[in-house]
Symmetry: C2
Subunit: 220 residues, 2 copies
């Protein structure tokens, strides 16, 4: 069984590997808000527990076991986020901190119950995939809205940045997962987009925002 601290390291390792490929000690240290020497010693412990392949000065790589156990922590996190939103009426920008705590509950039954009550959801409230019972993630590949063209019609499937600030910004624009977005124009100078969706006439979204919105093109 992994401790709470270990679960946090596992999750961070997995997420960083997904985001950036190779993970180094500095990044992991920054992500966790824990100083580098502490991270180094935890990685040695992880090596003994066969959770990472560790060699001094080399990038950190989760073993298969490490990936599985990390996936299971992320599963608990994302199921919790979904439960909080769907069953407890939380808004999507409120759930992260609570899920960070509940993900450490040791009770397979508890998470099985959540999964069942939610009808075995495939994604969390931000569109991130929920790993299966073996910790395996099935990745669907989405396009960034910023990579789409004038005239494209797309559906919003996920958001990359899940900070409360960004999510509140989206709330204020009535942007939520599942909305259909039409790209009316792309400004060449700053790559901002004029889009329409829902009941809005049209809105202008900066490139920074468009890069954080993952969409599916209409099936053709």
């Amino acid at each position: 069984m992994n401790s709470l601290a270990e679960e946090n390291y596992l999750k961070a390792l997995f997420n960083l590997a997904t985001e950036n490929g190779d993970v180094n000690v500095t990044e992991l240290s920054k992500r966790l808000g824990i100083k580098m020497p502490t991270v180094t010693s935890m990685m040695k412990k992880f090596a003994e527990k066969k959770l990472v392949h560790y060699e001094s000065y080399k990038p950190l790589r989760l073993t298969e076991k490490g990936k599985r156990e990390a996936g299971l922590v992320i599963r608990k996190h994302r199921l919790t986020e979904m439960f909080l939103v769907e069953k407890m009426n939380f808004a999507w920008e409120e759930v992260h901190d609570i899920a960070e705590q509940i993900e450490h509950i040791q009770s397979p039954l508890f998470f099985e119950k959540m999964d069942e009550l939610l009808g075995h959801p495939k994604v969390d409230p931000h569109g991130s995939p929920i790993p299966d019972r073996n910790g395996k993630i099935v990745w669907k590949t989405y396009d960034k809205l910023s990579d789409c063209q004038e005239g494209d019609a797309v559906t919003l499937a996920a958001v990359i940045n899940t900070s409360p600030e960004f999510l509140k910004y989206l709330n204020s624009r009535k942007i939520s997962l599942g909305i259909r977005i039409k790209i009316r124009a792309v400004e060449p100078f700053d790559k901002s987009m004029v889009v329409s969706y829902g009941k809005s006439g049209s809105e202008t979204l900066s490139n920074l925002v468009c890069e954080r919105l993952l969409v599916e093109r209409e099936e053709s």
Copy 2:
């Protein structure tokens, strides 16, 4: 803010005081499964934090602050038990261990949401009162079934022992909170009772069981 360990000490102190009056180090040690020297040193820390009145070799007494904070932990525990049973379809004998973990979540909003979704319940699934937002418990006084007489008709309001074994025994007899029980006979020799309730013809309950069932007499 109290740590997880401190919250456990607070809860145990409060519960022991409710059950037995005075609390001593030995009892607290046994209840927590923590050796006495560790308990002594935690009590010194509690004295500094003004959670207990501590004097060497004297019984342990929670301060008003200590009672309030203990009550708030117990509130979190009991709200959680109720939530697990009412909203997540757990059986009453399954919830204790999970609630022991969730009670330590630091998020007032999370527990407020539970309370709201449950409609501000006054008792948990075992009939124990849920402290209010200030940690105050309003005690209703019940009678033990074992103190009732032949001919009495009562309603089951709470159970004293909440061990899974006892609760499963009650399940097997279809005994649940709220059932109306009629006392058909009391065996003088061993104080066992012949009772009827629900659809059962009649059942015999040992004195040990009857002492653990708290009932309300029919309003007169």
